[in-house]
């Protein structure tokens, strides 16, 4: 998933918080003395629709942790435990039968939505029907394994998931029947798309209208041009602190419209408590010296990369793609992102420490598994051999400071190896859709990917399999347009293997990563970023989840 526009991420590598991070959300016990007050968050722009079954941004997925629950959820603790799926609205983890194709959950009793209605199994069934009715971004790729999903994808308005989601009101049970075993099904239920909403919720994107949830907080109001406000859910009672702990602030608001520079100044002055946006590069030095105790740095399982369109010139030529891989100095890209404390050069598609990660570097100045530097001589020779020298290349980037800087750097690199490159900056609102659509003939771009949940398929299969490539569509997440049926079949096999033998599956994913980069080189992997959180001095109890980042509701403002 992308940062603000299309994705969320988390990190699997140990949090290296450069200052000590606090204890877990639920592990340390609730400290009533710190309850109360208002937490002020800042973001330069709103994150789009507030509908949890549609919104696919980290910006709101972070907030959904405190406002919505699924049958299961990722554990609300810091560190590695935050990747663990725990029962949430379900009383326990599901009973899996029928060779991994049937999941049976028992719903907790007495839980109420923020509008006072009691959560029932009918709400659960309606929620999953609604996923298809609202055209959830991943309905066709994640939830299509539910029996009845193909019909829902064809005619969403009449979706019933007949035979797919079966409820038993008497036993308070919900049964999911899948068309095939899916090792990631629980992960997919645990993300905000799986949030249970009232059955009465209209089957279309609710946009700015808050939908009642079961979390500790509820959205009181939302104006994308000004602010959103979250207040305590009057019907909330803790049923599992691991799944949905009680929050500390009485109110959480997020204000939109300020520049990032102004946001940073506001937090410095304790006029606000946290900046959602990436911190400006020219403020990092000051922040890391003067406000060191308020800065938290955490590695992410994410990647910055430059996808090359393998279907149009000049990058329909393997040698041309390999040349760019040799030419780009990934240390330079890291410098532009903020230096080695905030990013690590990478040669692989999977981030280090991720399931399936295999350390290797196919395009390197030295014969080494770790990146050592560019090899311009090889790059120039490959461009010459490819016969693509002198061709025009457009690099499409978003028009924020860091992306434009990386794009400008790539322009210089491409020019230096014989192309005539130009930079095409686009607004962040449209760039991600634009680079996906084959009609726009984008040759190379700069993009980022942050994990949805810890699985190799979330990078390799989503971003580089034939199933992610859709011609003339804005939702063709395989931006490079790389579709090798043999490789896709290997991905499917690795996916299936995860149920029987996760170790073997991870090994297979690592080999696929290596094969894709070595034999096809559809990307230039640039670096794995780290996240910098800057909080005000009056805030305490910073807690970082590898899955959903900082828990906003666990911050103390008192």
């Amino acid at each position: 998933m992308r940062w603000t526009r299309v994705a969320l991420a988390a990190s699997i590598v140990s949090s290296i918080g450069l200052v000590a991070t606090s204890s877990g959300a639920s592990s340390s016990g609730y400290q009533s003395a710190h309850a109360g007050g208002t937490l002020h968050l800042l973001a330069s722009t709103a994150g789009g629709t507030l509908d949890p079954q549609v919104n696919y941004t980290l910006q709101y997925w972070q907030l959904y942790q405190a406002t919505y629950d699924g049958l299961v959820s990722f554990q609300k603790v810091p560190g590695a435990g935050s990747f663990d799926v725990v029962p949430d609205l379900a009383t326990s983890m599901p009973k899996v039968t029928n060779g991994g194709k049937t999941y049976t959950f028992t719903l907790r009793k007495g839980i109420k939505f923020s509008n006072g209605q009691t959560v029932t199994v009918k709400d659960v069934q309606a929620t999953f029907q609604r996923l298809f009715k609202v055209s959830n971004p991943n309905a066709g790729s994640w939830y299509n394994v539910i029996v009845g999903a193909p019909a829902c994808l064809t005619t969403p308005a009449t979706c019933t998931l007949s035979g797919g989601v079966v409820v038993n009101a008497a036993k308070n049970q919900v049964t999911f029947n899948l068309s095939q075993p899916d090792s990631e099904f629980l992960d997919q239920l645990a993300v905000p798309f799986g949030s249970i909403v009232p059955a009465s919720t209209p089957g279309k994107d609710r946009g700015d209208v808050p939908i009642p949830g079961t979390g500790a907080y509820t959205f009181k109001s939302y104006n994308p041009n000004r602010a959103l406000i979250m207040v305590r859910n009057p019907y909330f009672k803790v049923w599992s602190a691991a799944a949905q702990p009680k929050g500390y602030p009485n109110e959480i608001d997020e204000t939109f419209g300020m520049t990032v520079e102004s946001e940073v100044t506001a937090v410095e002055n304790n006029q606000a408590d946290w900046v959602f946006d990436t911190l400006p590069a020219d403020r990092l030095q000051q922040l890391s010296t003067k406000y060191a105790s308020q800065i938290h740095v955490n590695p992410l399982t994410a990647i910055w990369y430059a996808p090359m369109n393998v279907n149009i010139a000049p990058f329909n030529n393997l040698k041309a793609r390999q040349a760019v891989n040799y030419a780009v100095n990934k240390f330079s890209a890291v410098q532009l992102y903020g230096g080695k404390q905030l990013g690590t050069p990478t040669c692989t598609i999977l981030p280090p420490g991720f399931p399936g990660y295999l350390s290797y570097c196919a395009y390197n100045s030295k014969n080494s598994a770790t990146y050592a530097g560019p090899d311009l001589t090889k790059a120039k020779a490959l461009v010459k051999a490819s016969g693509t020298a002198g061709q025009k290349v457009g690099i499409v980037v978003t028009n924020d400071t860091v992306n434009e800087a990386v794009g400008t750097y790539l322009v210089g690199v491409l020019n230096s190896i014989g192309y005539k490159a130009t930079l095409k900056p686009l607004s962040a609102n449209i760039q991600f859709s634009y680079i996906q659509n084959t009609k726009n003939n984008v040759q190379i771009s700069v993009s980022q990917w942050y994990q949805d949940y810890p699985a190799a398929s979330d990078f390799l299969k989503v971003l580089l399999s034939c199933s992610g490539f859709h011609k003339a569509s804005d939702n063709s997440i395989n931006i490079a347009g790389y579709c090798d049926k043999a490789v896709s079949a290997k991905m499917d096999a690795a996916d299936a293997l995860e149920i029987k033998n996760p170790t073997a599956a991870n090994k297979a994913w690592g080999q696929i990563d290596q094969q894709v980069m070595t034999t096809a080189a559809p990307w230039v992997p640039l670096f794995n970023p780290k996240l910098t959180d800057f909080i005000s001095s009056k805030v305490g109890n910073y807690t970082f989840s590898r899955q959903f980042y900082m828990y906003v509701d666990q911050l103390w403002v008192k």
Partner: protein, 341 residues
């Protein structure tokens, strides 16, 4: 009767031609001469950009140098300097060294020599300002002469076009055109201008300012048309072409001369604004506007990156305006042309 002797009595002194008289008057204007020297200096420095970057600074200002270093006072200095204090976050480009051989004004976010880019950027800014002013004044003169002299339907049509263009705020129109043409380039008939070409901002800027020059010129022509020497020329059977070229144009020319430096200044500012908004000169090329944009992200740590081109723009624009004022005083002392832009 010759146009020069009959039509410009106010600037004619004895047997001296009005042109010589005006030039003499301009030369006596100290402020204008200082401004002219400044302009010549700026132009010369900018023309010497390749010499500076190639022979003195030994740097390519269009290629990133994020991992480079140089020797200064016996010490190795990194172009991009990692923060070593506190948490060690952030990388800052080297600041001004005040040494012409090495990053005189420091480096930008890409590790490029700001002073070398400033000189190259000046070439682009001055080129765009000057060429677009030439095109603008030429087109405006032709249209103004046609509208004013022929009147009737031609005047009505041209005047309405001017009105329509005038109705748009200059920057809004320029930004709109730039945004549209930036992706596809300009393809009209046999004219094909690529999206990254410098010709694109030149043509856009020239176009948006045409009515601001053409309308005053049309007014001057309308006024001249009623003068006796024009009536005499018409009465003597002179052709329209002859009257326009021999009688009217020489009397309009001083106004164009007055307009020209002012238009260069306006166009330079417009180009800088467009480039600052990333819709003018495109990377890897540089102009003063793009360099200010580059410096925007470094205002806190390296303000020189944005300030240097800003100062260059101010110096050039002020010098051009002073020269324009001097030219107005010398060539067209009764004119109130500046109020029309």
């Amino acid at each position: 009767m010759a146009a020069s002797s009959s039509s410009a009595p106010t600037i004619s002194r004895g047997s001296e031609s009005p042109w010589k008289s005006s030039l003499r008057q301009l030369r006596r204007n100290k402020a204008s001469m200082i401004a002219l020297v400044v302009i010549v200096l700026v132009v010369t420095l900018c023309l010497l950009a390749p010499v500076y970057s190639g022979l003195i600074a030994h740097t390519n200002p269009f290629v990133s140098n994020l991992n480079g270093s140089f020797r200064l006072n016996g010490k190795t200095v990194s172009v991009m300097q990692a923060n070593t204090q506190g948490l060690g976050l952030g990388v800052t480009p080297v600041g001004p060294t005040w040494n012409l051989s090495h990053y005189f004004l420091g480096a930008d976010q890409q590790g490029r020599d700001v002073f070398a880019r400033l000189l190259y950027g000046g070439r682009a800014s001055l080129l765009i300002g000057t060429v677009s002013a030439i095109i603008c004044c030429f087109v405006a003169a032709v249209l103004g002469l046609l509208a004013g002299y022929f009147g009737g339907a031609i005047d009505w049509v041209l005047s309405r076009i001017f009105d329509i263009l005038w109705a748009f705020p200059v920057y809004l129109l320029a930004i709109s055109l730039s945004v549209i043409l930036l992706t596809s380039g300009l393809n009209v008939g046999f004219i094909h201008v690529g999206p990254g070409s410098l010709l694109l901002p030149i043509l856009i800027i020239a176009f948006v300012f045409v009515p601001y020059v053409a309308r005053p010129l049309r007014g001057i022509v309308l006024s001249l048309k009623e003068r006796e020497f024009i009536q005499a020329a018409i009465g003597s059977g002179a052709s329209d072409w002859r009257i326009l070229s021999r009688e009217i144009f020489p009397n309009v020319a001083p106004s164009i001369i007055v307009f020209f430096p002012l238009m260069v200044a306006f166009n330079m500012l417009t180009e800088s604004a467009l480039s600052f908004l990333s819709i003018g000169v495109q990377a890897p090329a540089a102009s003063w506007g793009t360099i200010i944009n580059d410096g925007l992200g470094l205002l806190y740590t390296r303000p020189a990156v944005a300030m240097a081109p800003g100062i260059a723009i101010v110096i050039s624009a002020v010098a051009l305006n002073i020269l324009g004022d001097g030219a107005r005083d010398a060539f067209d002392p009764k004119a109130k042309l500046r109020g029309s832009i």
